[in-house]
Each structure stands twice: as structure tokens, then as C-alpha cells.
Subunit: 341 residues, 2 copies
Amino acid sequence: MNTYFTEYENLEVHELMLRDRPRQEAYYNAIMKNKELFKDKVVMDVGAGTGILSAFCAQAGARLVYAIEASNLATKVALDLIEDNGLTNIVKVIHSQIEDFVLPSSAEKVDIIVSEWMGFYLLHEGMLDSVLFARDNFLKPNGLLFPSECTIYVAPCSVPSLYDYWQNVDGVNMGKFASKLRLQKSTRPEIIQLTPNDLLHEGIVFHWMSLLDVSTQELDEISFKEVVATQIAGKHQGFCIWFEVQFPGEESVVLSTSPLAPETHWKQCVVVLPEESCETLDDKSPVAFQILMKRSANDARKYNLEVELLDPNVEEHPVPCSCHMTKCILTEAHLKMMDTT
Amino acid sequence: MNTYFTEYENLEVHELMLRDRPRQEAYYNAIMKNKELFKDKVVMDVGAGTGILSAFCAQAGARLVYAIEASNLATKVALDLIEDNGLTNIVKVIHSQIEDFVLPSSAEKVDIIVSEWMGFYLLHEGMLDSVLFARDNFLKPNGLLFPSECTIYVAPCSVPSLYDYWQNVDGVNMGKFASKLRLQKSTRPEIIQLTPNDLLHEGIVFHWMSLLDVSTQELDEISFKEVVATQIAGKHQGFCIWFEVQFPGEESVVLSTSPLAPETHWKQCVVVLPEESCETLDDKSPVAFQILMKRSANDARKYNLEVELLDPNVEEHPVPCSCHMTKCILTEAHLKMMDTT
């Protein structure tokens, strides 16, 4: 716990996040394009960091903002930021873990909770638990969460930076170097940016949740099993995982970390297949797999991620399934026929 | 010494270098476009790493290549690479520090030394000393060095990522955060990529050397004092330092790490000025400074870098000087007049 907050005192981590333009723009637009939701409201910013999101809320018209920050950024940075932007009457910077915070007995609960809590592949090294604690203890009934919904996607993919690039580096075959490199990296998923061309499928939803009603227990383990048909031919060398979060409001904003969206500091999370499992696939090839995202026993903020390739001949396919296996083609044709009659 | 070689066993460091396209292309072109220099020659690759440059030399027609690598990459990676590319008859991989290597008594000295030895701001964490040791002990008279010449440049610059960006982050003034960030970073130069627009001057040569005759002692301390006139107006917030290396041959190749060249893993080295020294300058403003690049007492591979701003009213300007000070305008006019008469 202490290490986590010490790390957040490293200003360079905040530099990275604050210079991540898609992240900044999503929060800015979500708040500023929905000012009517913030006007005269009481807001809580969970893990306020430098205080920038609290400043957005105040500028959007909030009456009172609690900027709760556990690290000493609260006193080292956020206080100054709030003062320098003339917002001390609105934003109260509180140096505390959210779990230790108590609202003054006379104070009302908050209308909106704002937080940028997302980690790699959404949950790893994130702080959603703290946001849910704040929701359960400090949010009014029918209060809003910014963001309010999250979706995690997965797609079979190529990983040229760990495979194909090394087959011919300026005329030299470095295949064995690449094998050793993959072995060295195989103990953890790769955080890298893929290009849209690397995806063999646009991505299917592997988990969706509404932050209004998800429980901490539901975050302990997320599993998913699916057969997906590739949409283009290509080398299947891994699984790419990314997330989107959605904000409430008429002008609904989505922050996407997809390979199709502008690069963010989260990039994507790629689980690379071992060499012997890689295959060159036609389009409409069925890929069967199972994902397990599980809270680490040693550190509740960390998540272990496991992907297992399954046999598409054995696993049950969805109905309809657009893969090229005879059974699925027949089922799809049958369903289509029923649709038109 | 040992730490240095252990670090090089980390394959991800090599991944970074091998995926640095300007670096790869410079060495590839320098060797492949000058095959006549390599044909039937004996080559030594100092700090061969994965062995890729040795492979280039063999493919360019060398008769014998000594691939000297001190880390266990020699046995873990380079041996395989040479074998997989069918070059075992030409390339001899030798797991040794160059300083411990002895040529067989019957063997001739080498015609060419190839090495990618450059560190940040050319010398920091580089291995030029080892290349010079190889030159002095193993290179034939009139032998060639790839690369053969190096130039270090400096230019006054703006550093928007540490200054201007923070004045207005989506409507929020984060000036004090930026001050703390700069303070945290002030103990070491920044390795960042600037854009051409950030330069207030195209860059002046602050050091040039030919690898054929430079001595190790000459590398202990490099100092430079100059008055340079800005070529465009802008905020002077730091000094940008970069290098170029040049290769021999009719098709002479230059590897540049300038902000005007495609980004490399070396990026540029920026010494950021303290806030009180920053100034908004007109074009033709004189900037007087002194640079000292000095080998660290504790670790000969490391270099300390110091830049001191001097008073352009006190320092002697070059002749001619294109700055807007009266004396320099008059001198320049006088010289021009003499030229035309």
C-alpha cells in the first residue's frame, strides 16, 4: 500500500499521464461538455493527484469539490494548483486515503464522483476498489460516476514487433534472438501499441460493467471463454486486450485504448503465444480461448492475466458463428432463411 | 565494469537498438553501399552484441570478421545468429573484453574496425575507449574505422514539454507542478526528442573528432565556450545537444541524432535552464555559454555535463558575429565591405 502511494509521488508518473492527450481530452470533454450536470453540485475526486480533475469540476460550475489524495502530492502539488487557479473556495484538498476519510457530520453526500483510476488492462495497478468504497460511503442515491461504464475487449492478433520483424532485420535472420526475447518477456503481458493491421478481429467484449452497481467481490476474478472467427487472414501470435470507459451525460464521451484509437499511455496489453501455438489463419478461422483475470493474492491492486488456447473443434461455438466450419455455415444459413421467411 | 556488461545481457536493450531504424539503416548502408571496402578484408566488430554488424560485414564480402563481445550475448545470441545466417566460416565470435583479446601470433592485423559504441550525448555510457584500444592494438596502418568521424552540436532551445505545456493544461495553470518537475529532473540532463521548431539556432559544432587519431586522454574532458546569435525569436529555456557520426567510403553515410532527423533511441540531450535564467529572445540575440563534458571520477564510462550561461556583454563574440549588438553589426558590415572591394 505504502509503495503504491510513494510511487505516485514521483512527479514523472503524473507528467506521463498529464501529457497523455486522449486521457486529458476525454476527462475535459466529459466534464466541460456536460456542465449542466456539475452546476452547483457537490463532487468528490477520488485519487485527485495533482488536482486537475477537481479544477475541471470547479470550472464546470461545481459548488464544492472534495479532492481526496493519499500521497503527499495533495500538499506538494494539488494545494498550489487549486490556489493558483483561484479555486480555493470550491475545492477542498484532503490528504487522506479515501478509506480513512469521514464527511463532516453536517455535510451532505456528494452528487458526483470523478476519478481516473484505470490501470493496465483496466484493473492492473488501478484503484477501482477505492472508487467503489467512495461510491458506497459518500455518493447520494442516484448520484453519478465519471466514468460510469467500462468495457474490456479482446482480439486475436499478430505481434510483428516480437515475431516477424526478427525474421529479416536488414537481411539478417534473428529468429533465435526473438525466441529468447519472447522467453524473457513471457513472465508478464506486453504493454505495447499495436496497429489496426495487427488485429485479426475488431475485438469482442470480454467484460462489461456499470460502476454504479459492480461490487468489489465481482472484481476478484473475471473469466471469459469464447470461440471467435477471424475477420481477416493473418498470423495468430497473441491476444490483444484493451478497454474503454464511458462517461455519463447528453454529450457522452468515450475514452478508448483500442489500437484503432490514438495512442494512450495505457497502450494495449498483449499476451504473446508461444511459438508452437502460433498459426497462420485464413479469415473466418475459429479461435477458441479462455481468459482469466484474477486479483493477485499478494497485492490486491495487481491482477494476474492468463490466456489459454482451446481446441475450436471441441469447444461450443456461439450461435450464429461466422467461422468457416461446416456446422456454423449451415446454422448461419438456416438462421438467415428463417429471418427472411 | 561488470554491471555494464550485465546490463547488456538484457535483451530488451538490444531490442530497442535493433528496432531503431535510423541506426540500423545507417550501419547497413555504410557497409552495404561500400562493399568494395570490405571485399576480402579482415574486420573486427568491437562490442558485437547480437552479431548483426558482423553479419553485415560478412555479407558485404569480408574474408574474416572477429566479433568481440564481452557479455554472454556472445554465446547466448551471436553464435546462433552467425550460424543461422550461414556465416560461421567468416565470422569468429569471441566472448571477451577487447582489452583481454590477443590476436593469434600468426594472424594479421585487421583492415577495418566496425563498432556501434555511441552513448547519450555521444560519450555518456558509450564504449569509445574500447574502440580506441582496438584501433591502437589491432588495426593496420591506414586501416578504416566505421564510423570514422563524430561531431557534437549544441543549440539554444525551447523546452515546451517542461515549460509552456504546463502554463495551460486544458485551461488549468500547472506552473508550480512544472517547477517541481524540473527540480526533480534537474540532477541530470533530459533525454527527450525536440521538434525542429524548438531550436533557436540550427546548431553549432561544439566538438569534432576523427576516430583515427583521437586519444583516450582527449576524451577525459571536452570544453567549449561560445557566443551564438539566435536565428529565430523564441523562449530560451535550455541547450539541446546532439551528435552525428560519419562513415568512410564513396557513398558516405551520416547517422544524425538531430531534432531535424528521424527520431533515434538516443533522442537529444537537453540541459534545462533554471526558471530565473529563461528569457524570451528576439532573433539575432547573443547567447553566451560554456559547456563542460567531463568523465566521471567514479565510472570512466559516464560523463558529467555542465552548461553555464555567460554574459554576452562581457564575453568575446566571434568575428563575424550575426548578433544584433552594435559592435557586431559594424564589424560584419566592415568585413562585407572589405569583401566587395
